[in-house]
């Protein structure tokens, strides 16, 4: 419950402050968000599987976001889009995580209907 309130508070806070990320840096923030979302999906899966560990989630959340942004920066400096690597990895992992979530839910529903 609290996390959802926190999320909404973040949304409102961002809407209220009069600041925009300069165009040069939106790429980094986007990469960080992608990595963070990947962590969130991973966390959802692990919660369902009852293997969720806060420390792993927190380190993954910040670490992945940082590495994704750093990779983008290095790629920019070296003249090659390294961020593609992060996009592909995080993107595909998000899909597979979602697939896992889907499977678990459908199995659960099927199991319920069968018992009924």
């Amino acid at each position: 419950m609290f996390p959802i309130i926190g999320f909404l508070a973040g949304v409102i806070l961002a809407l209220l402050i009069n600041f925009n990320v300069p165009p040069t840096y939106t790429v980094y923030l986007a990469m960080a968000i992608l990595a963070a979302l990947d962590s969130v999906f991973g966390a959802i899966v692990s919660t369902i599987k009852n293997t969720f560990k806060l420390s792993i989630f927190v380190t993954g959340f910040f670490g992945n976001a940082f590495i994704a942004a750093a990779l983008t920066f290095i790629g920019n400096s070296l003249g090659m889009d390294f961020s593609l690597a992060a996009i592909v990895v995080f993107g595909s992992r998000m899909f597979s995580n979602f697939a896992t979530i889907r499977r678990i839910f459908i199995y659960n529903i099927n199991a319920k209907t069968e018992t009924e």
Binding site: P3, I5, F7, G10, A14, V21, P22, L29
Partner: protein, 249 residues
């Protein structure tokens, strides 16, 4: 007790992380939307501002120039001896710093009207080299002062193609190029239309060259910079000129 504590810590941590995530996502949404509307215009606006700035600077410099020129005329009309004034005028005439009038020819060059689908369409337009050839020919025939579309040709003038235009004395010019040359009009004309000369080499491409002799033409003064940044008067020459000036006085 310990269990609830750790559960509370977990809740707080998750709340903070969700807050951060929501904040970041919303900020990104907002920024991207904001930048979409502005980033394309940003560059144009920036350039426009720069242009305005430069134009203002230009205008103020032009004013300064006028002021300085006024000062010069004032000083000149002052107590300077006639001999010095004469020398100065002569030097200015050589350097192209004053407008000159006299007989001469007007050469008008304009691009060919021929179809541009031709293989050698490059040859149908006037290049800097064509202008240089004409000018060289005019100088060779004894032209004393030359201007192109009002740009005086002086010893430091460059003539070069930049895109579809020609830049002379850092001023962008385009066709038709009207070259005014002061000198003996007959000699000048003859120099241009001599067999195998510049007119012969350009007319086959359809480039229009018209030469008009005139009794009285005016060639404007050079308006560019006349300051030398690197070239300095050689030492022995300096002493000579100083002596000369002393002798004149």
């Amino acid at each position: 007790m310990k269990n609830t504590n750790s559960s509370l810590a977990k809740q707080i941590t998750l709340t903070i992380i969700c807050l951060l995530l929501g904040f970041a996502i919303t900020l990104q949404f907002k920024s991207v939307r904001f930048n979409k509307g502005h980033s394309t215009n940003l560059r144009a606006q920036e350039l426009q501002a720069q242009l305005n700035n430069e134009q203002e600077k230009n205008a103020s410099l032009q004013e300064d120039l006028e002021e300085a020129k006024k000062q010069i005329t004032e000083l000149r009309s002052g107590a300077v001896s006639e001999a010095v004034t004469g020398q100065l005028l002569n030097a200015e005439r050589l350097a192209g710093l004053i407008p000159l009038t006299g007989p001469g020819v007007t050469v008008t060059l304009s691009d060919s009207k021929g179809s541009s689908s031709s293989i050698n369409s490059e040859n149908l337009i006037i290049h800097d080299s064509d202008i240089r050839t004409v000018i060289n020919e005019l100088l060779g025939s004894g032209a004393e002062a030359i201007s192109i579309n009002g740009e005086r040709i002086v010893s430091t003038s460059s003539i070069r193609c930049v895109g579809p235009t020609v830049i002379i004395n850092n001023t962008r010019l385009s066709t038709p190029f009207i070259i005014t040359a002061i000198g003996d009009s007959k000699t000048l004309e003859a120099g241009l239309i001599v067999k195998g000369g510049v007119v012969d080499s350009l007319t086959p491409w359809g480039i229009n060259i018209t030469i008009a002799a005139s009794e009285k033409l005016t060639v404007p003064a050079f308006t560019g910079s006349t300051t030398f940044k690197y070239a300095k008067i050689a030492e022995d020459e300096k002493s000579k000129t100083e002596e000369k000036v002393r002798g004149d006085n």
